[in-house]
Amino acid sequence: MSAAQAASARGRDIIFEYMAGSTWLLREAVPATTEAPRHSALVRITHWLTTLCFFALLLSGIEIVISHPRFYWGETGNVMTPSLFELPIPASRPWVKTGYSFVLPDQNGWSRNLHFEAAWVVILTGLVYVISSVLGRHLRKDLLPGGAGLTWRELSMDIANHLRCERPGEREAWSYNVVQRLAYLSVIFVLFPLAIWTGFAMSPALVSAFPVLATIVGGHQSARTIHFVVSVLLVLFLLVHIVMVCRAGFRNRMRAMITSGALSESEHT
């Protein structure tokens, strides 16, 4: 048995013992320098590829949206029609009345190219991640709430811990809590797919072949509005995600996601 395998086996023992309900055992069992794989290579690589793409999509998305910071519902909408809502920001095109006396520079050329290139990478990355998570153990073991024991008591305890702004404990370093699982599941299986779907729904060519892409979300402009709202929700998730990582121990969690070197008890005490 190699050192890594031994460390991994030890990691599982520790979780098992902790799950059995003994905090004391955990503290006893974890040596100060425990090294055990926390995240698989697949999770780590897809996580950082997605991070990179997300920032590219966010930057280029903001750049694209300022060319028309008005949103509509239904099939059509333009400066001659009433909007559903407007962003209180200046625009990069002179025909959009924004209340500002200046027009921002138009950067849509590279922004659109970057947006679609990053979209390709994030979609392919997401496919690899989702398929291998479903086929492997990642989805069942790490993400589905059953793996952390989805009971009302567990859930309310987790929510209460979050509301009290309690620092995530040792346990969360090894296994996601229920609230965390639900957050990740909704990002992976609701928000990202919705962003991709509504992105496709804005493509006149794809919609010509698959009209349901647009009709099911209420039309071309509805797709654009949903795409924007989902992006805002993803940014909110990102902010909370970063705050939680910082509270849980930034260096430790970053190390776990980069090299997979998991926590050492000493960093917390």
Binding site: T76, N113, M202, P204, S208, A209
Partner: protein, 244 residues
Amino acid sequence: MSNFSRRKLITTGLAASAGASGLAVAVRLADRYGLIPPDYGGIYGPGTTLTYASHRLLTGQSLAREFPANQISRAPFAKLRPFTIEAYDSLRAGGFVDWRVNVDGLVARPSSFSLAELKGFPSRRQITQLACEEGWSFIAEWTGVPLMHILSAAQTLPQARYVVYYSIQRNWRQSIDMADALHPQTLLVYGMNGGELPMGHGAPLRLSLPRQLGYKSVKFINRITVTDSLKQFHKGSYSWYAGI
């Protein structure tokens, strides 16, 4: 240890050369089947090539959605800054009777058509959406002659791969591949919402290309060139293919 690294070296080398030759074959095949856009190079080349290739494979000759008349936008926005071109103004003053569109390049019969001649071709009416890359859109009824009729009248040569179309406004031209040029919904439009094409929408002649974004639907068209290469025609930072 040396054994291990040698094995690793051999497998890595094999994998790399298999990958490289696989990619080379894929690129040649893709090019033969018209799956490589003219702007395939540069850092954004992979993205734009994947989009173009997948759309060509997935959409085929699919038809853009056509809408019922009650969905026609009451206020179709026309993005146009005023311009003055003497030639345009005098043609407009004459009711565009002297407007001509010239067809040249890889055609057996270089031709020139007046608006009256264009209206003599079989026409098509379609109520489609025009979506701008900025994010806004409107639905209008467009009346015009399918571009394929004009191309067959001029008899495009077999080596034709792209059709370039020019506006009377300087430096405004776009191009499409033959799949889009011969698509039944690709129209040279002279009428809109039951009347003449208004100036703001490109009077007297514009393109309707509902499977791509608005920036491909050039206004004030007066020249069409058939070509086998876009090397001297395509420039600019916007993606050549705008079906997104």
